[in-house]
Assembly symmetry: C2
Homo-oligomer: 649 residues x 2
Amino acid sequence: MSEESKVTYHPWEKTTELEEGITLLDGADDVGISIESLCGGEGLCGTCKVIIDEGEEHLSPVTEADERVLSDSQLEDGYRLSCRCKVQNGGEIETTVPSVSQNTGGIVLTEGNEMEFELDTTVQKYPLEVDAPTLHNNVGDRERVLAALEEEYDVDADAVDHLIQSELPNTIREDEDEEAETLSFTATVYDGEEIIDVQPGIDEEMYGLAIDIGTTTVAVYLMNLRTGDIEAVSSQVNPQSKYGGDIMTRVRYTRRNENGRQEQQDAIVEGINECIEEVTREAGVENDQIYESVFVGNTAMHHLFLGYEPSYVAGSPYVPANHAPAVVKAREIGIDINDSGYLYWLPISGGWVGPDKVSVLLVSGHYKEDEMTVCIDIGTNGEISVGNEEMMWTTSAPAGPALEGAEITHGVRAQNGSIEAVEIDPDTLEPTLGIIGGEDEPNGICGSGVIDALAQMFKTGIVDQRGQFRDEYYGHERVRKNEDEEVEYVLVWDEDTSIDGDITVTQNDIREIQMAKAAIQAGALVLMEELGIDEVDRVVLAGGFGNYIDPESAMTIGLYPDVEMDKVESLGNAAGIGAQLALLNKEARQETLNIIDEVEYYEIAGTDIFRDNFMKAMYLPHQDLDIYPRVRERVEAIREFDGSVKRGN
Amino acid sequence: MSEESKVTYHPWEKTTELEEGITLLDGADDVGISIESLCGGEGLCGTCKVIIDEGEEHLSPVTEADERVLSDSQLEDGYRLSCRCKVQNGGEIETTVPSVSQNTGGIVLTEGNEMEFELDTTVQKYPLEVDAPTLHNNVGDRERVLAALEEEYDVDADAVDHLIQSELPNTIREDEDEEAETLSFTATVYDGEEIIDVQPGIDEEMYGLAIDIGTTTVAVYLMNLRTGDIEAVSSQVNPQSKYGGDIMTRVRYTRRNENGRQEQQDAIVEGINECIEEVTREAGVENDQIYESVFVGNTAMHHLFLGYEPSYVAGSPYVPANHAPAVVKAREIGIDINDSGYLYWLPISGGWVGPDKVSVLLVSGHYKEDEMTVCIDIGTNGEISVGNEEMMWTTSAPAGPALEGAEITHGVRAQNGSIEAVEIDPDTLEPTLGIIGGEDEPNGICGSGVIDALAQMFKTGIVDQRGQFRDEYYGHERVRKNEDEEVEYVLVWDEDTSIDGDITVTQNDIREIQMAKAAIQAGALVLMEELGIDEVDRVVLAGGFGNYIDPESAMTIGLYPDVEMDKVESLGNAAGIGAQLALLNKEARQETLNIIDEVEYYEIAGTDIFRDNFMKAMYLPHQDLDIYPRVRERVEAIREFDGSVKRGN
């Protein structure tokens, strides 16, 4: 019996055991790695070449095919055709699949969801070897490099970044002595068109950033463009917040201050550069190794980052400065990545359907599915889209910050010590709490906790369908009037909190939550009305917030339409994930251009239809219980709608 | 009899008198102005529109065609279709032909030569009018502008400069109040592809620069892109001179000083910006109105200006960093024109056939003619090309600075007071002088004077064919030995000069001139040998120097091959003129790409064939008088070749 060999494939560090005679090309399949092989493993094309890092002695010898297809210096550097290279006589082998040979699907993880796609980056690196110039072959450096790219990789680039061109005579010769007959270097090409880097020798490291600029928070993901992995993440409060917490205040600031636009651009650029410093330090990556950054954010964040005049998109008729993807050299804006690298903003569909929304749609994909879906991105503005492959409408609803725990008496940001889950015993009205970080003494209640609390108070009958405390519970020790004569429910007694006093949910808190959820719910209902539908097949929650709320509680208060519970799905921070996807896959990037053509925006602000729906949506879960049959059933399993608890449940 | 009208066409300010009933379109022909008229004057296409500045009352009324083709605001602004607009009842009319309606050949003057070409600039301005956005038509600003360009002018641009995009929402609205139903602005488009400016209202002013960076001198021409006129010229000593007088010293400086490349780039950029300040001030033009600058210079000047590593093009195998035209945003280099404008370097054929040489060939055009031509650009390096439409060889000969008056005992730059022409009486040996500026007392002798003097001394027999003073003239008062025991000819006696002492031409001076002319002559002879020809049909002198030398004297000493005198032509500063041409005419620019493909470079340095030819070329005009039959004839009309003067001539 033949011995098995242990082969580890880099850069993924995936290991498999192969029987004698199996090629490294075939072995890669075992661990889900797909190596390019245009000739079908016939040893003709060279696209399957790999580098043998360790264990050459456990492989079949170099073949004629290797010698024919690979250059001398590649052979010296340990390159082999993986289709010709068989394991033999056992032992351990380490091999690196260079990015040019990779044909592998990457994976983005979203809190339990996986998304598969092909790794096909806009930035590509190509190791090249050209004849050194002689008096009889003294074509210029630029033309020599471009011709080699075309010949060896069929890449028809015709531009060289100015800064790269300046140093080109040095970089292509740096790795060689004066007598060398060949020059060896690696060209980095953007979108198959422009050389944005040239490095001596073989250097296949390349990184990119996916950046999500929220009105409140900025998140920067450092991604390895060879593997698709996230190497590090950093986030911070959007430094433009000092010019206003919301979009309109920031836009007004640009109008009222001569340099307001520049100031806000400088602030966000500085903030992002701080995040970049953090992720590069954490991952041990040089700024120069980052060749592209894909951005998402709403249209105002887009304009303010790029320094575009934001006034006209902020007011009627909401005209953006552009729809097309903004593609700008990093050095034009001062983002600390490779000077010749690019910043790429996903496109804008319309005034309020910005790159963030386009990114969410890219990830949710429901614009190309049969199922009728509501997709909700909860934030200060709730971004809502309803539709399927036939038709897609989208709108923006003014939810305010209550769902994120703001403007709530004991509301706090989600953090260690905050109450994130609440269950109330229908008999005793005693609550059971889930506290972030497993702390004993809570410091307040965060968004998901508030939604849970209200849903439980409704289910147990403490509040009625209008969100009002029922009179009959007054006198229960946990339902009382506070100093302001306002009714409230005591979630935690003073002695069990880390703050000074009880943690309660007041009548006013409930009103805030009702208004916030009603705005989002009404937005969805208006779009459904526009589409002529009464119900949807699926609910998709985008935004980090969707990961934390209890989907049943959210449906109980009517945050979104009534569907089967297993039809509620959370995408995590879909906007940021879409940016990652667009960074790693050209086709996905192209797809965003289709999205902006297909999506229609419905402006609900100030319309009668929104006002009507909003009034009805103030109820829990809605004035018309017929459209919430599943919620009704779940509530009625506990109590009658007059509030009386069904004892024994 | 009908009255005649007087019509003045702007921007040329050309005036003509037209009989009643003649259209402004037809009238333009009278003064050599060609107005676009795609529909052939049928009032359909609108391409012939002009603006009536004065005298509307002397024109036929607005027609239905005007109303159909022109927009309301164009009519308000005085636009009319020139094909529909007839003069009537006499009077004076002033009309402006906007650049979009111009189809006119421009003219570049070169010291008596004229060059006609169509004015077809890479930069174009397009007045536009678009519907103001509404809630039902709220497409983004960028897409609105690009669509209008496509629709109104069939210009399929797809890029907007980042800086222009930033301000786009403001600029397109600046000229209108909030209630306006249309927005009116002018878009400036580069090469039909990228919007590089947007201005409110109608603004058709546009300028460009043609810049000739010589090793010694920089010249900047400010050109009106609407008319093709030179508005102002400025020149200065190349500020890189402080890093070395010649190319090799400057290149060595970059190798020996860490920031040497940057220093030299900074120096030339600063110098050019000073010239730009001068020409804009003189012409009353704003820097922002300059949208492009076309550059010529040798390959080293090209590399040092752009900040490219120059080491490898300076030494064997003379590989330039690039051949393709360098096209760089002005702001990347810091040239003070419109920030979104472009710098465009003509392409490089090979190491020593740089943009300057390509430019000279563009102007001389002899690579596409039947006649076999020698083209010589005299400078420290003599740039020589020989060929015709079949084949073209070019080389560079190390002439040194003697022909420009340097390294000559009484040599001076061409300036007021310097001797530029010399005639010597064969009987008395008394000279007659031509002095620049008509001054009485000369201060020295400039390049053209030195060539004249030597030619005259040879013709009159003072020196023999080897350039040596003949013994028999010793003793003549003007032929004497100086303090260094060196023979010299006295051109001007002390008392008649503005300097301290006589002005003379020494034996050493003659040697310097011989070596300089021999290098150029030998270069041409080598190329002729390579082409297998004994004689040429035509001699073309490029470079400012060619304007000043006496063509017969230059041929007499053998600076170039023997041809009929009327076949010697001076192009003036052909390199600079080529830059102007490439600035004004896209086709000419395209043509330079053909030139670099067709021209072959012959490296003569260190070759035996050059050495042999150089030795023979040291003679006056050449060792072999058979190849200078016309010179021989002219000399023999005065004297025998033994030096004895033919009395009575």
